[in-house]
């Protein structure tokens, strides 16, 4: 691959991702409206599509206010971290054969590393705001994300065991005969739950719980800084959906009447829809329930899954 091709892939991926993140504003509101039996935004443009434009313009023109009691530098740094870490994670996603920004042989670990750095945006944003609600949100976010990172990593290790590689391309290729959802259903469900907690989406949006904490860690943010948290969340949904597709649902593999890239996009959008459906249908658990559920149920289950997978893999190899 030449240097120019690399640059084109990077630009293309960035362009598509940022547009998806913005477009999800409309997708989410229309889908939520559909499931709640109402219309949703339908005035501006065809099907209300221009709400994306209107929302973005509104965010750009809002006063970009930094509270005088805030820690200025860290306050500005925090929203940049969330978008940066999520966009960096997309580096290893194989969209189609040959369309991947960096085909690292430690791809999966790189994803875990970047998602673990994403915690800083919540923690620092909440702390730098110097506001008790923001601080409470940040404390919740930190413990939630550290806890669920563990299960996220462990749930993917079953797939790594079956593939024998951390390389995302190799993981997709290994699903040629059978998707990993068949052999690793437990891993998939735990990854899904941990992914929701990691992107702090409803029902696990406990760090921002608007009914108790106003808006949690980003209560003090306005304008495009708030917009960055917003985009980071949508990018996070896209990332987790893309990871689920690549790890458990065969990535770009599919019947040949559609190109590989279309299969990948189709499957990813299906899971984005599932994320939004969860938001529309489930209530928020209490904070201690979430943490208890993680350590007392998910951890033993994921460890058992790992051990059984390892035992079966060894047995199949003829040990």
């Amino acid at each position: 691959m030449t240097v120019m091709q690399h640059i084109w892939i990077v630009i293309g991926v960035l362009f598509v991702l940022l547009n998806i993140a913005a477009g999800l504003i409309w997708v989410e509101r229309r889908l939520l409206a559909l499931w709640q039996n109402r219309l949703g935004p339908n005035r501006a443009g065809p099907l209300g599509l221009f709400i994306v434009l209107a929302d973005t313009l509104k965010l750009f023109f809002k006063e970009d206010w930094i509270p005088p009691f805030a820690d200025k530098k860290i306050f500005i740094l925090a929203p940049a971290i969330v978008v940066g870490s999520v966009l960096l994670s997309f580096v290893i996603i194989p969209f189609a054969p040959g369309i991947v920004v960096a085909d690292l042989n430690i791809g999966l670990l790189f994803f875990l590393a970047m998602s673990s750095l994403g915690v800083y945006s919540i923690v620092l944003g909440g702390w730098a705001s110097n506001n008790k609600y923001a601080l409470l949100g940040a404390l919740r976010g930190a413990s939630q994300m550290i806890a669920y990172e563990v299960f996220m990593g462990l749930s993917l290790m079953g797939v790594v065991m079956l593939t024998g590689s951390f390389n995302m391309g190799a993981i997709v290729e290994a699903q040629k005969d059978m998707w990993f959802i068949v052999t690793q259903p437990v891993g998939f469900f735990i990854f899904f739950i941990a992914g929701i907690a990691e992107t702090h989406r409803l029902p696990f949006d406990i760090p921002e719980a608007e009914s108790e904490l106003i808006a949690g860690y980003h209560a003090e943010y306005s304008g495009m800084k708030f917009g960055m948290f917003f985009i980071g969340e949508y990018l996070g949904i896209t990332l987790i959906s893309a990871m689920m597709v690549a790890m458990f649902f065969g990535g770009w593999l599919g019947p040949s009447f559609l190109p590989p890239l279309a299969w990948f996009a189709l499957k990813t959008f299906f899971f984005i829809g599932v994320f939004i459906l969860l938001r529309a249908s489930l209530p928020r658990p209490r904070y201690d329930q979430l943490i208890e559920y993680g350590w007392k149920i998910l951890l033993p289950v994921v460890l058992a899954n790992l051990m059984i997978t390892g035992a079966i893999a060894l047995w199949m190899r003829g040990g």
């Binding site: 042989n105 590393a113 915690v119 923690v123 404390l139 930190a142 550290i146």
Partner: protein
């Protein structure tokens, strides 16, 4: 690769110095994060991507977050910064730094005179790391496991709350008795 190594080493040293000299605990911790990321880059440039990523996941992504978590909970603000300022007077650090500087000069002289100063870059993949961990160094690994287990048991013991089940009338009675 060589250039990458030197750049990230420089960043690591600079960030560590900043981490020591900041007065505010959170700022210091953030520089420490940068230092860890730079250390990960050093590992990467030396051909061990696995260790590099583990450094980011474990140190930068988990341990420092817990540090910041604790700092946030204790709500350390201006008072601690002042205290730190008092501790970090030149009188305190001038002597040790001078001695360390002598050591540094010695080390640089030794390094410049060394015969085998060529950096060996060999890519070590995750499989090799795990094989040596669970083969050659299995006893060390088990011992580390013991240590962590002891830590967890200790933390559970310290964190345990004594359950006090008192009937409300009983409690009132004891309170009254104390008052008498």
């Amino acid at each position: 690769m060589n250039l990458l190594f030197y750049i990230s080493s420089f960043v690591a040293v600079a960030a560590t110095i900043m981490a020591i000299s900041r007065f505010h605990p959170v700022h210091a911790l953030l520089y420490l994060v940068v230092s860890f990321l730079a250390a990960a880059m050093i590992f990467l440039s030396l051909g061990t991507p696995f260790i590099a990523v583990l450094e980011v996941i474990v140190y930068a992504g988990a341990i420092i977050v817990l540090f910041i978590f604790v700092v946030m909970m204790l709500n350390l603000g201006k008072d601690t910064a002042l205290q730190e300022k008092n501790w970090l007077r030149p009188k305190v650090w001038a002597g040790p730094s001078l001695l360390v500087l002598i050591l540094l000069v010695e080390m640089i002289v030794l390094l410049l005179n060394a015969q085998n100063a060529i950096m060996h870059v060999a890519v070590v993949d995750p499989r090799k790391v795990s094989l040596s961990l669970f083969g050659e160094y299995i006893i060390a690994l088990e011992l580390v496991g013991f240590l962590l287990m002891a830590g967890i048991v200790g933390a559970a013991h310290i964190g345990k709350q004594k359950k006090k089940i008192l009937h409300r009338f009983l409690k009132e009675e004891t309170m009254a008795r104390v008052e008498i």
